[in-house]
Symmetry: C2
Subunit: 308 residues, 2 copies
């Protein structure tokens, strides 16, 4: 899957992933009103609004952004109807040729991680049939349980040509509480990064491996160290825009080949139509506004990398 991700990035010249993390408050009222008219003020109604919103964005960005990252919590909050829209969103983005990174942050003991891996990037055997439950291309994984919790994902990556991003240094303000604690002279996140490098060794394809890392744009100085510890891992960098970072702060997350990182923006893109600088777009044009926001972000990052 890393080869497809890189090919998509090179085609769009955009090392960018769009976070499809819809809150009801982000969605134009005419969409929620119509959904509530049809389904009532129910989980089904909320989920329908989310779907229409997602579709409107995807239709406008699929040729300029290489990948999307739906955050499953934003769908899980609407129960079963929400998760149906998660599934539909994954399928729709794949149809459009985008790489889908399921931001699920799962991780558990071995047999349980195996169930999560099958659910999200693999297949499940039912009688004589093999069925794909959610069908993402790549998922995020929490490393707290150690190799046991990660290995079942690696096994499925190998069998199904899929990928994972392991949480290393997250973008939130309190990420340092445990992740920065010093162990034998180095912060915990560096030890996790070393494991990420190790976990990827059997899953390399060309210059990069199927095992990447999550490291927040909010900590740009971290980029340099991680690049050295995991030269063949892609780094998924959340926290661009709304959470802080800008293109020039992010160059250290990339390798000298200009590859090796993909920067996520969620609110900055999907709610662009509400933001300063996007007054030309009405709420009917939220998709077109998102497209412009992708292009602005692309110019910022590709410019900082000297790609333009």
């Amino acid at each position: 899957m890393i080869e497809k991700l890189i090919a998509n990035i090179e085609k769009t010249k955009a090392p960018i992933v769009v976070g499809l993390d819809p809150m009801l408050s982000y969605i134009p009222e005419y969409i929620t009103e119509k959904a509530f008219e049809e389904y009532g003020e129910t989980l089904e109604g909320a989920a329908e609004a989310v779907w229409q919103y997602n579709k409107g964005i995807i239709d406008e960005i699929y040729d300029v952004a290489p990948a999307v990252k739906p955050q499953i919590a934003m769908y899980e909050q609407f129960g079963i109807p929400g998760l149906k829209v998660f599934e539909k969103t994954v399928a729709y983005c794949k149809e459009k040729g985008m790489v889908v990174i399921g931001d699920i942050k799962r991780g558990d003991i071995g047999s349980t991680s195996a169930a999560y891996a099958n659910a999200h990037i693999g297949k499940i055997h039912v009688g004589s049939k093999s069925i794909v439950p959610f069908g993402e291309d790549i998922v995020t994984v929490n490393p707290y349980l150690g190799s046991d919790g990660v290995n079942p994902f690696l096994k499925v990556c190998k069998e199904e040509n899929k990928g994972v991003f392991i949480l290393v240094k997250t973008s939130n303000p309190s990420s340092g509480e445990f992740q920065d604690r010093i162990i034998d002279g180095r912060p915990l996140y560096e030890w996790v990064a070393e494991k990420v490098n190790e976990w990827g060794q059997d899953l390399c394809k060309g210059d990069y491996c199927e095992v990447g890392a999550v490291a927040g744009a909010t900590y740009p100085e971290v980029g340099k160290t991680l690049r050295k510890l995991m030269p063949k891992s892609y780094i998924l960098v959340p926290g661009y825009g709304a959470q802080g970072g800008k293109g020039k702060d992010l160059v250290h997350f990339f390798n000298p080949d200009g590859l090796g990182a993909i920067v996520n923006s969620s609110r900055g893109i999907i709610t662009a139509y509400k933001q300063a600088g996007y007054e030309e777009f009405s709420d009917k044009d939220f998709g077109a506004a998102a497209r412009k926001a992708v292009k602005v972000m692309q110019e910022d990052i590709a410019g900082a990398l000297g790609w333009l």
Copy 2:
């Protein structure tokens, strides 16, 4: 919710939680065959088999076990139909008076953790309505992201009278890879335990708080230390039976009042009908076998605690 959990434990004299973690291979063939006849070899068929199996167990154990812990991964692996059965299982166990611990191990940045907390132990606002998506009583939470990732769960615990168990020292063989690393002279899991104690301070009801910890039975020596660090936290102890521990190894997880811990068994109970010592039970009697396994476990643990 901790008060209800303790009341249920005292009523049953069983500090026990039954892990409802169904694999298709656990389920008697006559159940899966019937489900496949009706729904085909589909996710719906698998989910129906899981539901019939769960129901058969719950109907036999609800008056002898105070709580259940459905592991959501085992449902998520069957996609949307599986998650519908998760929801149905949660509701059915609550109807029967049991406390339901959703073993979800979620945890993310603040706004995302808030969505998970609403999804599982809270409510979601849709227009003018408040809707309960999954409705567990308590959930497990991963601490890797620090306080930011936990606080939204605490907020919902306070508002909705619910509880959480934070992963501290997990039961799997590689749990030590990061959790045992030494930080200022003490393993990481002890630093997490200190936080658990702190996170619980505003959520205490009587002698215990709504913020508990997960610590594996496979590491009995850990119990003593954790009891001191978190005197008012319940400890959820997985790894009994199939994974190793026995009643006498577990006494250190309890406080001198005989409370403070609840021990989980999954396979040991739900697949009892297949095990040595349960030959009197045919596959039609898997529920009755589970009931006997709960009683055997209850005698082992209550005996070790001097409750008998």
